[in-house]
Assembly symmetry: C2
Homo-oligomer: 205 residues x 2
């Protein structure tokens, strides 16, 4: 157990952590201020020393999620090494890996209903990871003849959409969608076929 400094020591983070595990366990709506406070061994009122209210707490959790995610994407991209193609595929996989490893963060970010309008920091944080994927797409698109090269933002959006769809439909308890294949395989093959369609992988490789 980490030492407690001033009073609780690190209540703010403890509350975020409690919220994250609550969201993970009970779903995006299953989180309550009272319960989070209880898990942090603190009175509900203490929450308001660190957050403006319930929304702000979820927003902070989502924000931390976006940061972790962007770091993960950055690490996966690895400055385009060893090849633009491999780096791009890694970033695609990173999406699913993130959802698997940080389900609480993932839910806070995409399923909790926090609005980006009300919390612009969230938008900026999300931009960071999207920018990495777009960078990867941009680098990769250099390998496509210019006259039939789609905009990089377009094909990064495709990958983003496919990744998100695989996660939502097959890597979680979505209605009517038991996974016919492991989500990892599904995403891998899906991205593979898509990249072949762009002429970036040899047909029948």
């Amino acid at each position: 157990m980490p030492k407690r400094g001033y009073h609780h020591g690190n209540l703010k983070q403890a509350l975020v952590d409690a919220a994250l595990s609550l969201i993970e366990q009970k779903g995006p709506t299953g989180f309550t201020v009272a319960e989070a406070a209880k898990r942090a061994d603190v009175t509900p009122a203490a929450v308001y020393r660190h957050f403006e209210g319930r929304e702000a707490l979820i927003a902070e959790a989502a924000l931390q999620g976006h940061r972790i995610f962007a770091d993960l994407m950055h690490h996966a991209y690895a400055d385009g090494q060893p090849t633009a193609l491999a780096a791009f595929e890694s970033t695609g996989r990173a999406y699913l890996a993130f959802a698997r490893k940080f389900p609480g963060h993932y839910m806070a970010m995409f399923e909790s209903g926090v609005s980006v309008q009300a919390h612009p920091e969230l938008g900026f944080a999300a931009d960071r990871s999207r920018a990495i994927l777009e960078q990867a797409a941009e680098a990769l698109s250099q390998h496509i003849p210019e006259d039939r090269r789609p905009p990089a933002t377009m094909f990064s959006s495709h990958i983003w959409a496919m990744s998100h769809g695989v996660v939502e439909l097959f890597a979680r308890g979505a209605p009517g969608a038991q996974a016919p294949f492991p989500p990892e395989d599904l995403l891998e093959t899906g991205i593979g076929i898509y990249l072949r369609g762009l002429g970036l992988i040899e047909p029948d490789h």
Copy 2:
């Protein structure tokens, strides 16, 4: 105004409709029994003459959504006419069209958190539309040489995932994802590239 038969006449459906428009306006969590009853000009208690409770009402709304969706898919598929390819592409588009035309139903189905476990009818209803997409994929896959033909359920899953991802990320107010392109175009081009990857469309057509 439709005539009222016995007492209200058709309260059950009126409640479902009220719930759908509430969900559409206030989000999946913004729906309450009291508010739905109010919109149907009825006491909250009356709801319990027709539904076991709140969950059951949402489940009915979702169920109706699945039926509409399956009908739409069926219509889009049109028994594989004029070609297997065109029919398949139509079913892909149907997903987005449905989300656009029936946002309340869509949200009830995919974002309201009703569990398929607790409501098996939902699972069966969802199976119907999935089966149509798989049928379309199966028919289309006959055009791929057998030795490099992926399982039909796999590539229907890819399309399903891409469609769902496009809808969630770009056709709705999802965090950090302002649409760089119209969702319809994004889905159209995405599916196009994917099908080219499968060798079903001429490269550079």
